[in-house]
């Protein structure tokens, strides 16, 4: 067993510097690496580029880095729930690259899987395709999209072990598995770090080979963005 376990979030984020490109898992506030984000705020690294489907809300998730003016550029598919984001974007302080959600996921997966680029139909004929190479296959037009290049990927999983094997829960899985191994260093925080051998090899979603550092996170808030319920009859 190759040991990926580090003792705490400080060790896990060792080497994160200004101007780096960071991937962060999560969809909305679901499955975001809460401990890594808190440590990024504490480290106060500046001018970072963040690849993340969303940008959090004003006072949680990546919104915390935005409030702290640490982000130079965001690469996301949807950024609708964040006033500070909108203010920084419209004032030009923040550079934003909006990318279709499936393309965003595939740009992660391509980096993970060793593909330099891929063709997708998403965005053809729109401003997303401007300046990009396009090509026809079987009568349909496609846009060439390059894989991401990132320094760190911050991932949140439900369970994991010191070998780096991961299991995700519900829709908090989202972009997290696609970002594992898609950056130079993949840092995973889990709710429950179990003994090696405890996870059934048949049930592992991401094998440890894609992970460099793993630690058990603390104090998960798991905030719900849109609490919607029905009443019992």
């Amino acid at each position: 067993m190759i040991n990926k376990k580090v003792n705490n979030v400080q060790q896990a984020l060792h080497g994160v510097k200004d101007h780096m490109t960071l991937m962060l898992g999560g969809f909305g506030l679901c499955g975001i690496p809460e401990n890594a984000i808190a440590e990024l705020v504490r480290l106060n690294v500046k001018n970072v580029t963040c690849i993340s489907n969303n940008a959090g809300v004003d006072d949680f998730g990546l919104g915390l880095l935005l409030q702290n003016k640490q982000i130079k550029k965001m690469i996301s598919s949807y950024v609708g729930e964040n006033d500070e984001f909108e203010r920084q974007m419209l004032s030009g302080e923040l550079e934003v690259e909006l990318t279709p959600q499936g393309t965003l996921a595939e740009k992660c997966r391509a980096a993970q899987a060793g593909f330099p680029a891929f063709y997708t139909p998403a965005g053809f004929g729109t401003e997303v395709a401007e300046g990009k190479e396009t090509r026809e296959f079987d009568g349909k037009m496609y846009v060439l999209e390059p894989a991401f290049k990132a320094d760190f990927a911050f991932v949140k999983a439900w369970k994991g072990d010191a070998a780096g094997n991961l299991v995700f829960k519900g829709t908090s899985r989202n972009f997290n598995p696609n970002m594992c191994g898609a950056a130079v260093i993949t840092v995973v925080e889990v709710e429950d770090l179990v003994e090696v051998g405890e996870l059934d090899p048949n049930h592992i979603h991401i094998p440890g080979i894609f992970v460099q550092r793993i630690f058990e996170g603390a104090n998960y808030e798991k905030r719900i963005e849109q609490r919607t319920v029905r009443q019992k009859q």
Binding site: F27, G28, L29, C30, G31, N53, S76, S77, Y78, V79, G80, E81, E86, M89, L90, V96, L98, P100, Q101, G102, T103, L104, A105, E106, C108, R109, T120, P121, A122, G123, F124, G125, T126, E127, V128, W158, F168, K169, G170, T171, S172, R173, N174, F175, N176, P177, N178, H205, K222, R223, I224, E225, Q226, R227, T228, V229, R230, Q231, K232
Partner: protein
């Protein structure tokens, strides 16, 4: 009388067939699930990573780790599955999803759709909409026929930045059911009590009216 949002959803639900995997967008499309016939088997896909979505949870049973693409807490049905985002869009891009229902700010007679950006006013992003419209072969748009100022959103050409080109096949509005083909909107059905003339007046794009146009049965 023109339909309300639930009326539009009710009419679109008639397009959902037994054995369909369906992706529902945010807004009116989400309401469609409430009106699908109970004697057919349908699975709802949400692009954040769930197939087999169920109704909202009971108060106190919500789980922060189980949400839909609108970030609402949801439940799952027996036979449901969770998956990562790349797999989710493999279902969409790979045309495994049978029907896509989404909202729009504008549609054009050539099938173009705009629903993600109003320059200098609203830039929330496209989310999964560009992937959905670029790949799906069966796209129904749910929308109001006109904006709050009474101006048509059923156009010759979209004025807003596009989400996709030549992709919309059917539009259901508060006034009509329209099929989009041969660079025109073909009027299929009228909302109850709405005249062909009212629909013509509310439509800026080319409207083809052939024979008697039936009222929707809801």
């Amino acid at each position: 009388m023109a339909l309300d949002k639930n009326g539009i959803a009710k009419r679109i639900a008639q397009e959902v067939q037994d054995g369909f995997y369906v992706n529902l967008g945010i807004g009116i499309p989400t309401l469609v699930a409430n009106y699908v016939r109970e004697d057919i088997e349908v699975e709802f896909q949400s692009e954040n990573g769930v197939l087999g979505m169920g109704p909202f949870p009971f108060d106190g049973e919500e789980d922060a780790d189980i949400i839909n693409a609108g970030k609402q807490t949801i439940t799952t049905m027996p036979g449901a599955s969770f998956f990562d985002s790349a797999t989710s869009f493999a279902m969409i891009r790979g045309k495994h999803v049978d029907l896509t229902i989404l909202g729009a700010m504008e549609v054009a007679e050539n099938g173009d759709i705009a629903n993600w950006k109003i320059p200098e006013k609203m830039v929330k992003g496209m989310g999964g909409a560009m992937d959905l419209v670029a790949s799906a072969e069966n796209i129904i748009v749910a929308m109001m026929h006109t904006n709050k100022r009474g101006e048509s959103k059923i156009l010759k050409q979209c004025s807003l930045p596009l989400t996709g080109v030549g992709c919309v096949t059917k539009v259901v509005t508060n006034l009509a059911v329209l099929e989009v083909k041969d660079k025109a909107f073909h009027l299929l059905e009228r909302a109850p009590g709405v005249s062909v003339e009212e629909i013509q007046n509310a439509t800026e794009g080319t409207l083809v009216v052939k024979g008697d146009i039936p009222e929707m049965s809801l």
